[in-house]
Symmetry: C2
Subunit: 430 residues, 2 copies
């Protein structure tokens, strides 16, 4: 099939008729397929099941510093968990705090602290300012944006380029506007496009002049070890870059094992400068008595080392890679050469980002839902849920089985084509 | 030995000399005893060790609603955990949210939400008000007070009477001052005095007129099932009382298994009206993807029912009761009849509250530390760490072994007597 833009109105009508027939056949199957969220499949979760029985009655429950992991205390996590996870985020063990089960919650709490108390070099808590703004590279992660909405933080959308956020715009905005206090980054295998920031982008983020003295980068390294190929993307160390640029407190790093061990029962972590960590510890000590240390010990005894984590992630990749390949195969064969959509070919992470023709994403997601295929809500990858070009759709291939995935993407491709033809016909008739 | 107040200066001097000799002997032993915090002993923690191996590879990990506990989701906890713990707080399963490992963290977060967003019937977030005040019945729990200090919430100390806070004062203050937004309560086996609120106090709290339309009771039922005798204290249901009084949203209840299963790896919970829970859920959905559901399932499979919890708590009591009895025996024999101290005889909970003569608590704690016995910091049981009469010392008998506990309390009794004699001699010489 050739470029849709070169087809005559008649050809488009005819082709639409055939596509609609196929769509109707799927619809009559009353499918119930959900590829809306980046959830690991049961098969992936099974990979870590052995961890659950690892600590049991008769074992010793002591951390290497002598702390009984079953009891209170240990605000920042047990030492061996710091040693295990620090190299995953490429920081030193004294630069990391190991928390509960949710890195999103650590990000939320970090911003909540900034709102109520400021960060370590704030003159005033952010909530006391007339307006607080964040830069939101988009397409991006909807739950980051939801935290900003929760706190009434105004988001400014920044275009994503192939090597990271549009730094010319970022640099200009942060140098001009004191109200801009932060930027969201998923620097490795970004959600949803799978982009890894270039060294230049990292350096520019670390060294740029910001009008706000307490500007912070929220560096969500969610996919630090989530490679799909044998050639892991390399990401320049931002904590080091910030130190070298004379902005040691500029960045908070976050990570978790939610997509390594268990999504609901993993271990979350944050890393930063001593200035930021001292500030965090001080506030944290009033917030909680400490994280679940037994679960941390479980992770340490199961993974043992970063090598252990990497071996485990290779097993995840072996399950995930064929799913990504299948999605790409179908997109290539069904949508390739038609000039109605483009899509990412990620080397890691959890998503494939699909761009339709402008103004088609919502209609595609709606039409897919009509055939029982739930996709991530159109617009979700943009601040306030509004995609200005209404074209981005986030595909999450991990959870469905191969068979379900195949069907879901076939339905998706039909919908993209149908909606595109409708648009072309409408545009042509104008 | 008779009432110290009836002894002559000479007799006091002579007695002090003998006490000082005994104190010096303890000091030369270079003791290292810590009875500062209400931590369960390793022997108590062992009671739940079987729970840890209960969920392991090969098991099914599904909650009864079909949710895979290993994966994301389930913001308010799994249904069977709600069913297990609702009766512990005497609420309905739909009135409870099951969270992470820390009820203190749930309390902190509830107040942080009120500061940033208000509660469901606030006109304005509390942090936007010029001043926010809480009533702090004291002696009370230092970590409650620390949360208020963290947020700059002004605390007003309320005297504790034998059946709960001094309600005449509470009612007067809340009816007059709109800035008073809350009150801290540990209503059952209170920390540190072991007081259980009377029905009348519960009713007055539920029905009193408050000038603030969004006043909240923070009801920390930390010792809901932590009985030391066969005659459990009965506590009137505050959620029902608030509903009946026409103030359904007035109370947030909190509880946890920190002193039931594992202090660092238990399950925390909060209960409230639908209005409060809907508000909480809405905000919570931006804060986290959900709690550790595997750990909730572990607790459900181990305890099975409230009866299971009660049987387990009887095993805790069998370990704790002799420790409390030992402390009381020594206090009775060493300090009884001397009119220099009084102490509580709790029927549950984790603490014994000791009151010295006015102005002696700090000196006693300091002198005990000099002999290697660490007690809870004097003043810790009062807002801002300041005990206006400098007399309250919180004793935490749970963690030390019986032998350590015996020595620690002997040292304590020597210190109370020495400091009291010093005070009497000084007062007499004036």
């Amino acid at each position: 099939m050739s470029d849709f833009h070169t087809l005559s109105t008649e050809e488009l009508h005819e082709y639409r008729f055939r596509l609609q027939e196929q769509y109707n056949r799927f619809r009559s199957q009353k499918l119930k397929l959900d590829m809306s969220r980046g959830k690991p499949s049961p098969e992936q979760l099974d990979l870590a099941n052995e961890m659950l029985g690892l600590i049991r009655s008769g074992d010793d429950f002591l951390a290497k510093n002598g702390v009984d992991t079953r009891n209170y205390g240990g605000l920042e996590g047990i030492p061996e968990a710091k040693e295990l996870f620090a190299p995953m985020l490429e920081v030193h063990p004294e630069e990391i705090i190991i928390g509960g089960n949710s890195s999103l919650n650590m990000m939320h709490d970090t911003i909540a602290r900034a709102m109520l108390h400021g960060v370590c070099d704030s003159e005033i808590p952010w909530a006391k300012l007339p307006v607080v703004k964040f830069l939101a590279p988009a397409p991006g992660y909807d739950r980051h944006f939801a935290i900003c909405e929760l706190f009434g933080i105004e988001m400014i959308t920044i275009d994503m380029l192939p090597d990271g956020p549009d730094m010319d715009t970022v640099e200009r905005l942060v140098s001009e506007d004191e109200a801009i206090k932060g930027i969201w980054c998923v620097p490795r295998y970004s959600n949803p496009e799978g982009i890894t920031y270039s060294d230049e982008v990292v350096d520019r983020l670390a060294s740029m002049k910001t009008k706000a003295g307490d500007f912070r980068i929220f560096w969500d390294d969610a996919y630090a070890v989530h490679h799909l190929t044998d050639r892991p993307a390399s990401l320049k160390n931002i904590l080091t870059a910030c130190k070298e640029a004379g902005n040691p407190n500029r960045v908070f790093l976050f990570g978790s094992t939610s997509k390594i061990s268990f999504s609901g029962s993993g271990v979350a972590m944050m890393a930063s400068s001593q200035g930021n960590l001292d500030w965090t510890r001080k506030l944290l000590s009033a917030e909680t008595i400490g994280p679940d240390k037994i679960n941390q010990l479980r992770h340490v005894r199961f993974f043992k080392s970063l090598d252990g984590i990497m071996e485990h992630m290779a097993r995840h990749a072996a399950i995930l890679r064929p799913k990504f390949e299948r999605v790409l195969e179908i997109l290539d064969s069904e949508l390739g050469g038609k000039s109605i959509a483009s899509w990412s070919r990620p080397q890691g992470g959890y998503f494939i980002s699909l761009n339709t023709l402008d103004g088609c994403a919502k209609a595609v997601v709606e039409m897919a839902a009509g055939a029982g295929v739930v996709l991530t809500k159109a617009g979700a990858t943009y601040p306030y849920g509004i995609d200005p070009r209404d074209r981005n759709i986030r595909l999450a291939p991990s959870y469905p089985s191969m068979e379900e995935l195949t069907t879901a993407i076939q339905v998706l491709c039909l919908c993209v084509q149908l909606v595109s033809i409708n648009k072309l016909l409408k545009d042509g008739s104008k």
